[in-house]
Structures are given as C-alpha cells and as structure tokens.
Symmetry: C2
Subunit: 309 residues, 2 copies
C-alpha cells in the first residue's frame, strides 16, 4: 500500500490490511466531523525515528474547538513498561492505530475519545486493543443511555459477553484515581485481546473496525441534539474545569500517552488530546441540586446506563 | 508546639524546631506576598489520614492570579517509590515542608516555585531537600542574572560548591523531558542532603531555612519591576501556553506531585500548583526574532546566568 510505504515500512499482508482499514476509518470519521463542523481538518504527515510514522489530522472549528484524529504506524525496541506483556524472546514491536479526542466549543456537547489499535512483537505476540468513552460536561442520562446502547449493539454482534465486560474495564480504566471520580460516563475499553481456539485474529480485527465504524453513529446524534443549545459564562467555566480533569487523567494515568512519551512518539500528535483551554480552581465546589452537582454525582463506576438511565 | 499538636503528632525536639521554622517561613512569605498584592490568603487546615496534616494558604489576587503557600507535616508507611532511598529496616516516614507555586496575572511577571522539606524514617534515615526555580513567560536575561545571584549568595554562605552543584541539579530536575526544554531559567535544587563528618543536621537545616528566607528577596524585586508593565492579548495567550507546559511538568515529571498523589495527600493542596487557566495549541510556532523566540531559545540546560546574562 502506498500510504504505508511512505512511512518506510515493509508490511505483511495482515499488517497491510490493518493499516488500510485504519486509514479508511480515519478518512470516514474526518469526513463526518467536517460535515457537521463546516471546517476542514489540517493534516500533518510525520516520521517516527524508530521506523514508521503517522498522519495527524487536527480540526479547530465552529463546533469542535480542538480535535485530533490521528493515525500512526510505528515500530521500535520494546519499551520497558511493556516487557511483562511479551513473550520472553520479543525485542521489537509493531503498533498501529487510530486515536481520537474531540473537545467541542459548547459545554453542552460532550468530549469524546476513541482508540483502536493493533499490536505485534517480532516473537509472535499479537493482539488488539481499543475503546470509546464519552465525557459530558453536563451528564444527560438519556443521551448516556443512547451512547451505551450504540456500543452494546456493536459488541453484541460479536459476543454476548463483550459489552458488560468491556464496559466494566472502561469504568476502571477511565478513572481519575487521585480524584476518586470517573472521567465521564465511560463506554467500552479492551486490551490484549488475542486470538484463541474460538476466535481468529481476523474476527478480532473485524470487531475493532466495527468499533471504529461505531464512532460517528454513537457521537453525531448527541452533537446534533446539543450543538445549538445556549449556554452561560458559568457553564463555560464549568467546562474549563472539567477539561482540567481531562488533562489530569491524560498526563497522570493514561497508558497510551505514557507509551507515546516513552517510545519517542511525536509530541504534538500525542498531546493533541489536550484542550485549547482548561482551568483549575482551588477547592471548586458545586451548588447542591445544580446541574453541575448532578454531573458530579454521576462520575462513579458501576452505573448501568443502558437499563437505569 | 500548639500548631504541630493540632495535627495530632508527638514531635521530637528537632522535629519541633523544624516545624516551627517552617510555619514562621510560611507566615513571612505570605505577609510579603499579601503586601504586594493587596489581597489576603485564604487558609485551610486539613488532616492527613496516615497522621499529621497541613496549613494550605491560597491567594487569588490582583498581582497573583493563583498562588499557594502550603505547609504540611505528614507521617505514614513508606511508599513503594521511596524504598530504594531508605535503610532496609525503615517502615514509616515523617515528612514536613513548605511548598509554593505562584502564577501571576501578568505575563510579564514570572511564575515561581519553592519547596523546602525535611524527611525522616523510623530507622534513622534523615535528610533535607529543597529548591527554588523561576519560570518567566518572557525571559529577561538581566533579571535572570539577579535571581541566580540571590540564590548563589545564600549558597555561598554555606559552601563554595553548593551553588554550581545545585544549579546543575535544577537544570536536570526542572526539565520537561518529552519537550526537550527546561521549565524556565532554573534555580537551585537539592535532595537527600544528609549530615556527615563535616556537616551537622543543624547546619543543613539552617541552610534550608535560609533558602526559605531567600524567596522574597529573590522574587519580589522582579515582581515590583514588572507588575505595572502593559501587555497584549497575544502575550497573554503565550502565557497560557507556557502555563500549559508547567502543567505538563507537574503532572508527568514532578516527584513531589507523584509522592503526594501516592501517599494520599490532600489533592487540592497538591494540585494548587496548577494555574487557573492554561492552554494547549496544536503545533504552536514562534516568530523568528520575536520575544517568544528569545524565551524559547533560553529554555535549555547549562546557561551560566550569573556570568553570561
């Protein structure tokens, strides 16, 4: 494939397919977001020093204040933090994925994150990982339900166990430990999903591409429903504070960010997940009975959004 | 001492003296900052679950947008990340210190940080640590020289080797590794400074209190010289971006922040170091020959501020 070749890598047929699916998913998502926003993504192609590179796309638009949809395909020596996950003889990794974070202008439109990835070592390790999660500035229970239903539908087509299992993993992963609060209303998260006697790598990869294709279906209806709503200065400030929590999660706890920083990834592509503006207030308290208090109370693990909301 | 007792700790005579010196230093620094700002600090007393507590003071003023001057005295089981530093039999630590971060309103007034601390284990470990460093939004070489001269004067009174050695440690410590840039113009940094045949604990502690007493002398002249200067919207935006880098350092690299998060410290006191507002721009570039470019070029290790500026 030309696009993979331009990153200077020789790919196996499976790697070719994975990369080409990811590039297609990146294209489709960018097109969908551009249509809603009326603004084009800016594209940067970059090379990774260990081998490979990426196609970073950033939007700074009318609906989406700062959003990144990043494709990357990189190889390199296995970083220290990953040794435990590998077979003992592995020395080099191959990793490719699409990673998205969108910070909308309006506090009524939720922040969204998605990541789907494929990983190999040179000693036969092979797995997929991924996830989608939503971070509303103001939690709307009905929209949270819709969002989780979309994810559940995608999961159910592969296994009746996926959704519940991956939803719990998302609650655990997207958790700001030092604040004892979830980042948002969660979603699904999975990692180290490997082929076994019952499931081939092809099926696993198909699942991952379906998650990628669920992004617009799960997110755009919420964007459309909320983007024209008015908001106050106070609601804007609450958004900046919630974005501050997002920064805390990404810089302190997010394994993807740490992996990128440790493997010499392109800083601007890794940290495009950070918002244009964020705020930290000392001892910020929310008024009892307010919409902010409702949101704060929903930032806990274990809510059954599909059935309770 | 009443103030230590109110945190529920029984102190040795040396611990009493250390705590009482730290509280005096906190008072003096707060008074000095209040006088310049015209705004009073807000005080919060808090208890630490493992034992001890703190006296957090926060200013949100006219000159200082968000500043914290925090005293804490805490005990607890030794956290994992500190085991290597201890004698093998140590099980509990005692740590006390004053920690300061000030984010001024004007981009012409530098951000400042100071920390002085005293540490003991229950198995005879005993050391001091500390440091002061300055983060100008716009580097002024003459003021950087003055700042380093103040620190050098304090160091020289104890050892002719201190300043150069601690200045180099500051360059290494206040370094944003993933950006390959220093946080600011550095200052001094030292840790695990232990009594030996030539230097008693009393002398080491005296050095630490002198560093505490250097804070106002090193910082206020720069504040006074710059606080009335006018600035543009563009300069304000550059300040928000530089503050973003400060957030990156504190959340990704700062050992004090990680220590606080790992030992169950009070989150609002640990993260008071974060600015009220910060910004991240994708691929921000500075114009050649601009004041921003001058600052960017000065964010490197190894500048001899005292002699070259």
């Amino acid at each position: 494939m030309d696009t993979a070749k331009q990153f200077g890598l020789e790919l196996t047929p499976l790697q070719e397919k994975v990369v080409s699916d990811l590039l297609r998913i990146q294209d489709r998502i960018c097109n969908g977001l551009e249509e809603v926003d009326g603004t084009k993504f800016q594209e940067d192609l970059w090379q990774h020093k260990g081998g490979g590179g990426g196609r970073t796309r950033v939007i700074q638009g009318n609906v989406f204040a700062k959003g990144g949809v990043n494709f990357s395909v990189v190889t390199g020596p296995i970083p220290h933090m990953m040794h435990d996950r590998m077979k003992a003889g592995a020395t080099r990794f191959f990793a490719t994925g699409v990673s998205i974070v969108i910070h909308p202008v309006s506090p009524k439109v939720p922040i969204i994150h998605m990541n789907i990835r494929y990983f190999e070592s040179d000693y036969g390790d092979q797995w997929i990982g991924g996830g989608i999660d939503l971070t509303p500035i103001y939690v709307n229970d009905q929209q949270a339900k819709q969002f989780h239903e979309s994810l559940k539908e995608t999961c159910d087509a592969f296994s009746p166990l996926y959704y519940q299992s991956f939803k719990e993993l998302a609650d655990d992963y997207f958790f700001i430990k030092h604040r004892h609060e979830t980042r948002g209303i969660g979603g699904i998260f999975y990692d180290y999903l490997k082929p076994d006697l019952h499931t081939s790598m092809e099926t696993l990869w198909q699942f991952n591409t379906r998650v990628g294709d669920t992004f617009l279906k799960a997110y755009l209806p919420i964007v459309q429903a909320n983007k024209e709503l008015t908001y106050t200065e106070e609601e804007k400030q609450w958004q900046l504070v919630r974005r501050g929590r997002y920064v805390e999660f990404n810089l302190v706890w997010d394994k993807g960010t740490l992996f990128g920083l440790q493997t010499g990834g392109r800083i601007e592509s890794i940290l495009m997940s950070l918002p244009k503006f964020a705020s930290w207030e000392y001892n910020k308290e929310v008024k009892e009975g307010s919409a902010e208090a409702h949101t704060q109370a929903r930032l806990v693990k274990g809510i059954d959004w599909v059935n309770q909301a």
